[in-house]
Amino acid sequence: MITPDREPTAVAPRLSWGARVAVFTRMFAVQGSWNYELMLGPGIGFCAEPALRELPGGPDGDAYRQALARETRYFNAHPYFAAVAIGALVRAELEGRPAAQIERFRTAMCGPLGSLGDRLVWAGWLPFCSLVALLAFGLHASPVLVVILFLVLYNAGHIALRAWGVSTGWRSGLRVAASLGAPMLQRGPQYLARAVLFLAGLALPLAIARVVGRRGLEITSHDWRIALPGAALLAIALAVLLVRLPARVEGWRAALAVLAVLILTSIAR
């Protein structure tokens, strides 16, 4: 019998394979009802719910209702790293940890799981995979190869991260914070940043060349000799300008304005 004040156990409680699979599958929709009020909260409850059914009394019991209510409250994290919290919270609920302890854990995990995910995934892994795809594009890979290369590479990291997150959370329970200090997670963003910079230098000139369109004689060699260096210099100048401007100046808005002028000039001539 699980009671609210029961001491944590060294061995993880039993959880059926059906519940494990359901929790993992639901994590892909953790942001399904994302909103500015509760943010990821309802999504955490949605993901944990299949496991909570295994609490004493089942889905009609008080333990289930109290746990589900707790897990749907405000929570925010990177969506992939939310898996760490879900694994830990499910274990804590099944171990019958005190409600106050679970609430404190939820509050404490929001910041670290958000910033780590943003640095490792959004500013690291995603641009890395985009640049690999742009490199393949620049090297004249076929459309199918470019798309498959990007999707397989990105999702190998994406799915592995979610699986690692939920299993680490489940294994460590509320002591999972120590796992986030692992050298790979702490140094990973630095390694990825270097790889992204190297790939940017490598892929962007090749991508520019393919967009300008030398191969297949889309343009004459005379035009090519002017167009490619001109594009490269303009790109460098724009990049330097955007870096020097305040961060709130967004390049895509500038691109939209430039393209609008180009289109209007073309049809007005």
């Binding site: 892909f28 929709a29 399904g32 009802s33 994302w34 509760l38 943010m39 309802p42 209702r65 589900l68 749907t72 969506p79 943003d118 500013a123 995603l126 641009p127 995979c129 985009s130 795809a133 594009f137 090297l139 004249h140 459309p143 470019v146 798309v147 990007f150 999707l151 990105y154 994406h158 270097r194 910079l197 190297f198 790939l199 230098g201 090749l206 991508a207 520019i208 060349a209 967009v211 300008v212 004459t220 167009a227 594009a231 210099l233 303009l234 790109a235 100048a237 724009l238 990049a239 955007l242 870096v243 961060a247 895509w252 939209l256 430039v258 393209l259 289109i263 000039t265 073309s266 049809i267």
Partner: protein, 228 residues
């Protein structure tokens, strides 16, 4: 020109790509290089879709989809841009440029639609809080499924409206296009690579030896460019 037969698959795919951005499954099928290529494949010119997608991908590298920030929705938008670029015979002057323009403009509108959906989700969530505080499974499931369905609808409506609005505009622009490919594609490539380069430097320059990694890559890139 996109015919009515292709509107249905494009709208359905736009729904899936729009949902992939945030709601489900975030597998990045919504990235421009994927979504735009798919759009071009549906309308008959996959290479134009890929070209448009590569340019949009460079522009999208600036966007970090961080939590509560408001950012362009590149999924459905890139599909629309790639589909329009691919709907014209290969090498039609201006098609890729207009496709990219349409993609960026639609992504901007898509960002606003995501913001509106998040507000709507907030209204639904606040209404569901009393039931969720009672531990109601039904309330949690309903909120989640309603949000997912609304996001699918958002993507579908955005895609359909964008296609209906931009198709006649694109026809008109391309019928009167005068600038040569070398000049127009040079500007396009420069703007996209400039935005990508600036964004990558802003995000990654804190790493030790960052400028040397960038320089080493650039040297190798230029050597490959000369050799291939």
């Amino acid at each position: 020109m996109i015919d009515a037969v292709r509107l249905l698959p494009l709208t359905l795919l736009g729904a899936l790509l729009g949902a992939d951005v945030v709601s489900f499954p975030q597998a990045m099928i919504s990235r421009p290089i994927v979504a735009s290529t798919l759009g071009g494949a549906i309308t008959g010119n996959v290479m134009a879709g890929l070209l448009t997608g590569a340019v949009l991908e460079m522009l999208a590298m600036e966007t970090l989809p961080v939590g509560a920030s408001r950012y362009p929705e590149w999924g459905s938008a890139s599909l629309v841009g790639g589909a329009l670029a691919g709907a014209y015979p290969a090498m039609t002057p201006g098609a890729v440029i207009v496709g990219v323009f349409v993609g960026v403009a639609t992504a901007w509108a898509g960002g606003w639609s995501m913001y509106a959906l998040r507000r709507l989700n907030g209204v639904w969530a606040e209404r569901a809080v009393p039931a969720m505080e009672m531990g109601s499974r039904r309330a949690v499931m309903t909120l989640q499924l309603r949000g997912l369905t609304a996001d699918l609808l958002r993507g579908a409506v955005l895609t359909l409206i964008a296609l209906l609005v931009w198709t006649p505009v694109t026809d008109h622009v391309l019928a009167h296009w005068t600038i040569g490919r070398a000049a127009s594609h040079s500007v396009l490539a420069a703007v996209a690579a400039g935005v990508a380069g600036g964004a990558i430097w802003r995000q990654s320059h804190g790493a030790a030896g960052s400028k040397w990694y960038l320089l080493a890559g650039a040297v190798l890139g230029i050597i490959l460019l000369v050799l291939t």
